[in-house]
């Protein structure tokens, strides 16, 4: 016998019955919606709105004589609701999905010499202490070639004043792709 699961959705008084597979589809839809909206400050409210709409449509299915929702019933409802598009819909870019295109810069904020290591750290998302350590090892183990590399970058790279400014500028670039 198929397992029947009782579902209650926020914003709607009715309980719905679904088989396990249908329940999983619904749960996955809501999980995906939550993930896509992870940067949306009103995420929980949007999820409640969605649940209410889903419930209203499920109530129609129940009204047509279906007692236990199957996977096809739930899929049809979710198709009407449509996937949540966190990127375009809410204007909150899901930056984890698309690696930002960054430019290497020097960063003045917290600089020891000329901000090259700060810049490399922001560019690569590696902690600045590690970048400095690697540079130091490189400089001492290569008889000055590493130090020369530092000097070259010092002249070649543009400078920005803070990490914040760096990320703001480079996120914009990524957003325009």
């Amino acid at each position: 016998m198929k397992k029947v699961i009782n579902i209650s959705l926020s914003g709607h008084p009715n309980m719905f019955q679904a088989d396990e597979a249908a329940y999983d589809v619904l749960r996955q839809y809501l999980e995906r919606a939550r993930a896509r909206l992870k940067n949306d400050p009103d995420r929980e409210e949007v999820i409640r709105d969605l649940e209410q709409s889903i419930a209203e449509k499920l109530a129609v299915v129940v009204g047509s004589g279906v007692e236990v929702m199957g996977i096809a019933d739930v899929n049809a409802v979710l198709e009407e609701i449509g996937a949540v598009d966190g990127d375009k819909g809410s204007g909150f870019a899901d930056t984890a999905d698309q690696p930002p295109r960054r430019r290497l810069c020097r960063i003045k904020e917290g600089q020891q010499i000329a901000g090259v290591c700060q810049g490399l750290s922001a560019y690569s998302s590696v902690r600045v202490d590690w970048v400095r350590l690697v540079f130091l090892l490189l400089a001492t183990s290569t008889a000055g070639v590493g130090a020369l590399a530092y000097v070259v970058m010092m002249f070649a790279l543009p400078i920005v004043s803070t990490r914040e400014e760096y990320f703001a500028a480079n996120r914009d670039q990524a957003g325009q792709m």
Partner: protein, 108 residues
């Protein structure tokens, strides 16, 4: 038609169409979807709700709960004065854009 290019154009305009729909009086989400359904801007709850909540955060619209005859209470949306202003600005801008688009290719 280059559907991809026109698609991104429509995406940017959707917000202003929604402002236009809500400007006609209190509406709830299903009304908005219904009005858009027959147009090129047909959309779904999955897109609409995040957009409405963003517009509310921007202070363009607000909502209140109202009992509905059938089922649970619903959110009815209406424009704030900032929303009405943005819609008016958009309409004026759109008019000037239309003029520009029509005239820019003409040879004098």
């Amino acid at each position: 038609m280059d559907s991809e290019k026109f698609n991104s154009l429509r995406k940017g305009l959707l917000e202003f169409l929604i402002l236009g729909i809500i400007s006609s009086g209190k509406v709830y989400a299903a009304d908005i979807l219904q009005r858009l359904r027959a147009t090129d801007f047909a959309t779904q709850e999955g897109t609409l709700y995040p957009l409405l909540s963003k517009m509310r955060r921007e202070g363009l619209l607000d909502y209140e709960w109202q009992e509905s005859g059938s089922g649970p209470p619903r959110k009815y949306y209406e424009l704030t004065s900032a929303g009405r202003k943005q819609l008016a600005d958009f309409r004026a801008y759109w008019k000037s854009l239309t003029q520009l688009i029509e005239q820019i290719g003409e040879r004098k």
